[in-house]
C-alpha cells in the first residue's frame, strides 16, 4: 500500500486525509499543534466558555463540518499531534514529538503547512503588547484571551476588520482599525474581487458593523512608531501631513499572510516570483503537484483562504491517488480545479486591495529593529550593503548581518528584509532573491543531551 504522509491538520490537510481514507489509505497526519483545525479553524483549549459558533460567525458551518469530518475519520488516520516535521530527506521526514526525535518514511508527501502573518516592522514593534494580527485571533480562539485592554488593529489585511469585530463582539475595547492601504486603492481592486461576491459582501458588512459600534477605521494611515516605556501606551500614526497618536495598550500588526514553504523547499519544489503577492511561491500544476510524489495544498501552496484550502486538499489527494494507480472521475477533478482557481483568483484581488506596503518597509528608520531575534537594525543591513563589494542578495545579506539567521529563521523579518535590500541595492524586489529554506525548518525542541534517534 502507498505510504502517504500529510503535514498539517488544517482545512487542507484534513480534507486530503479524508479523501485518502475514502480510497482505503491510512495516511500519517502530522501537526505540531496539539489539536486539529489549523490556524483559522483551530480547536479551543479545553475548559473555556467560548462560543466558537458565534466567534466563527458566517464560517461556523464550515468550522463545524470540518471538525465533524475529522472526528469521523480519526480512527482511520495515523494522527500525530504535537509533532514538528523539521526536515525532509529523500523519502523520510524527520520529526520531533515533545523533545523526542523520530522518522517517518513515505512514498508520497502532501504538504498542507498553511501560512503565518507577514508584518512590516515599525519603530517600537518589539515592545511587549505588540503581537501579530493572526496571533491576536489565535490567542482568542485558543486561550479565550484578548491581547490587551485597548487594542489597535494595524496593517493591511482583510483580517484586520474580522479580528477587530471578533474582539468587539466579545467585549474588548477596540481603539481603532488602521489600514495602510488607501480607500481608493481598494476601490480600484474591486473588479478582481467579483470572483467571490459573497466574501466581498461580508467584508463590507464588517466595516459597517465596526463603524456602527463607533470604532474608528482609518484608511491610508501608516504607523510611525509604537510608543510606551516598557509596554505599549499608544501608536503614532501618519496620514499625509497629519500625525496623531491613538492610546492603546496592545497592537495587532498584520500585512497579509505568507505561506510556510520551508518544507516544500527541502522536498525539492521550484519557486517562482509572484508580483501581486510580492512573494516567492512554490510552483505546482493546477492539482497541486510540485514534484515527483510531492503535493501541496492550502495556504502553504498559495494564499487562498479556508474554502480554497479545503478544495485544494481534496484535489491534491485526488491527484496523488491518480498518480498511484487509482484514476479519479474527470468531472470531480474539473469541478475542484475550477473552485480552487476561482477562490485563489479572489485572493489575488484581495492582495491588490490590501497591498503589502513595500515603501513603508523600505523606509524603516536606520535605528529601528529589523531582526527581533537578535536585535539587528535596518541601518546595520544598509551599512553592510554599502561596504565595497557589499551584498545585494538576501541570502548573502543574511550570511553577513545574521538577519534571517536567528530563531525564527527569517519567518518574521524576511519580507521586510527583501524590501530593504531591494531599495538599498536599487534593484527590483524580484531580483534580490528569496531566503532559502534550511533544516531544521524550526529550532528542534529536543531535550538537552538527547540524541536524535536513527
Amino acid at each position: 500500500m502507498t505510504r502517504v504522509a500529510i503535514v498539517g491538520a488544517g482545512p487542507a490537510g484534513i480534507r486530503a486525509a479524508a479523501a485518502l481514507v475514502e480510497a482505503g489509505i491510512r495516511p500519517v497526519l502530522l501537526d505540531e499543534a496539539a489539536r486539529p483545525g489549523g490556524q483559522g479553524y483551530r480547536t479551543p483549549s479545553p475548559g473555556l466558555d467560548l462560543d466558537m459558533a458565534a466567534l466563527m460567525g458566517s464560517e461556523a458551518g464550515h468550522h463545524a463540518r470540518l471538525h465533524g469530518l475529522f472526528a469521523a475519520i480519526h480512527d482511520r488516520v495515523d494522527y500525530r499531534p504535537e509533532t514538528l516535521v523539521w526536515a525532509v530527506d529523500g523519502r523520510t521526514l524527520h520529526v520531533a514529538t515533545q523533545g523526542r526525535a523520530g522518522m517517518v518514511a513515505f512514498d508520497a508527501l502532501l504538504l498542507a503547512t498553511g501560512a503565518t502573518d507577514r508584518v512590516v516592522p515599525c519603530p517600537g514593534w518589539t515592545k511587549p503588547g505588540v503581537f501579530t494580527l493572526g496571533g491576536a485571533q489565535a490567542i482568542l480562539k485558543d486561550q479565550g484571551c484578548f491581547i490587551g485592554r485597548r487594542v489597535a488593529f494595524v496593517g493591511s489585511s482583510p483580517l484586520l476588520l474580522l479580528a477587530a469585530l471578533q474582539y468587539q463582539s466579545l467585549g474588548a475595547h477596540v481603539a481603532a482599525v488602521v489600514d495602510t492601504t488607501p480607500f481608493g486603492a481598494k476601490l480600484a481592486a474591486l473588479p478582481g474581487l467579483a470572483a467571490s461576491p459573497r466574501t466581498l459582501r461580508r467584508g463590507i458588512a464588517y466595516r459597517t458593523k465596526l463603524r456602527a459600534a463607533g470604532i474608528p477605521v482609518h484608511d491610508g494611515a501608516a504607523p510611525v512608531a509604537i510608543e510606551g516605556r516598557d509596554g505599549v501606551e499608544g501608536v503614532r500614526l501618519r496620514h499625509g501631513a497629519r500625525e496623531w497618536t491613538i492610546a492603546c495598550d496592545a497592537v495587532a500588526l498584520g500585512h497579509g499572510l505568507k505561506p510556510e514553504t520551508q518544507l516544500a523547499d527541502l522536498a525539492g519544489a521550484q519557486f517562482a516570483y509572484d508580483p501581486v503577492f510580492r512573494q516567492w511561491l512554490p510552483e505546482t500544476d493546477a492539482d497541486g503537484r510540485a514534484g515527483p510524489s510531492l503535493y501541496l495544498a492550502g495556504d502553504g501552496a498559495a494564499i487562498g483562504g479556508a474554502y480554497a484550502a479545503e478544495a485544494s486538499g481534496t484535489l491534491a489527494a485526488a491527484a496523488l491517488l491518480a498518480d498511484h494507480g487509482r484514476p479519479q472521475p474527470k468531472a470531480t477533478l474539473r469541478r475542484l480545479r475550477q473552485e480552487v482557481a476561482r477562490l485563489r483568483r479572489f485572493q489575488r484581488g484581495l492582495a491588490r486591495a490590501f497591498a503589502w506596503p513595500a515603501g513603508q518597509a523600505a523606509a524603516l528608520p536606520d535605528d529601528a529593529t529589523l531582526c527581533r531575534c537578535e536585535g539587528i537594525t535596518a541601518g546595520e543591513v544598509r551599512r553592510a550593503m554599502a561596504q565595497p563589494l557589499g551584498p545585494r542578495e538576501v541570502n548573502r545579506v543574511k550570511a553577513i548581518t545574521r538577519v534571517g539567521m536567528g530563531r525564527c529563521q527569517g519567518r518574521i523579518c524576511g519580507p521586510a528584509l527583501a524590501d530593504i535590500v531591494a531599495a538599498a541595492a536599487g534593484l527590483d524586489h524580484a531580483a534580490v532573491g528569496r531566503l532559502r529554506g534550511q533544516a531544521p525548518v524550526k529550532p528542534i525542541p529536543l531535550a538537552l543531551g538527547a540524541e536524535p534517534a536513527g
Binding site: P46, F131, I139, Q143, F146, D230, R407
Partner: protein
C-alpha cells in the same frame, strides 16, 4: 524587572476558564494557572511581559502567538526548551525564563 512582576496582566480573559487550578513556578516564584492555559497565557494574564531579550535585555512578551517567531522560549526543569505559546501548563511545572548555562549552540 518591575513590570514583569506587576500584578496586572497584558492579556485579558475574554471568557471564563473552568479548568482546575494548577500551580506552576516561574523563576522560582509561584504562579496560579488553570488547566488548559498555555504557559504564555498563564504568565501574561498576570504580568505585562514574559522575559528579557538575551541581546540587550529589553522586555519581550512573545509576538506571533502561533509557534512561528520563537520569541517566547522558556525552559522546563532547566533541561528542555519549549515555546510558551504552544505548551500547556501542568501541575508543578517548573519554568525558567533564562537558558541554563549549558544551552546548546544555536542552529544556523
Amino acid at each position: 524587572m518591575k513590570n514583569v512582576q506587576a500584578g496586572v496582566g497584558q492579556f485579558v480573559p475574554a471568557v471564563r476558564r473552568h479548568g482546575a487550578p494548577i500551580r506552576i513556578t516561574v523563576d522560582g516564584e509561584a504562579l496560579d494557572a488553570r488547566a488548559g492555559d498555555s504557559i504564555l497565557a498563564a504568565v501574561l494574564l498576570r504580568r505585562r511581559a514574559l522575559r528579557r531579550h538575551e541581546f540587550g535585555g529589553e522586555l519581550r512578551a512573545g509576538f506571533c502567538l502561533m509557534g512561528a517567531c520563537q520569541d517566547c522560549w522558556v525552559w522546563l526543569d532547566r533541561e528542555r526548551r519549549v515555546r510558551a505559546c504552544t505548551t500547556t501548563v501542568t501541575e508543578g511545572m517548573r519554568i525558567d525564563l533564562d537558558a541554563p548555562d549549558e544551552e546548546p549552540a544555536s542552529f544556523d
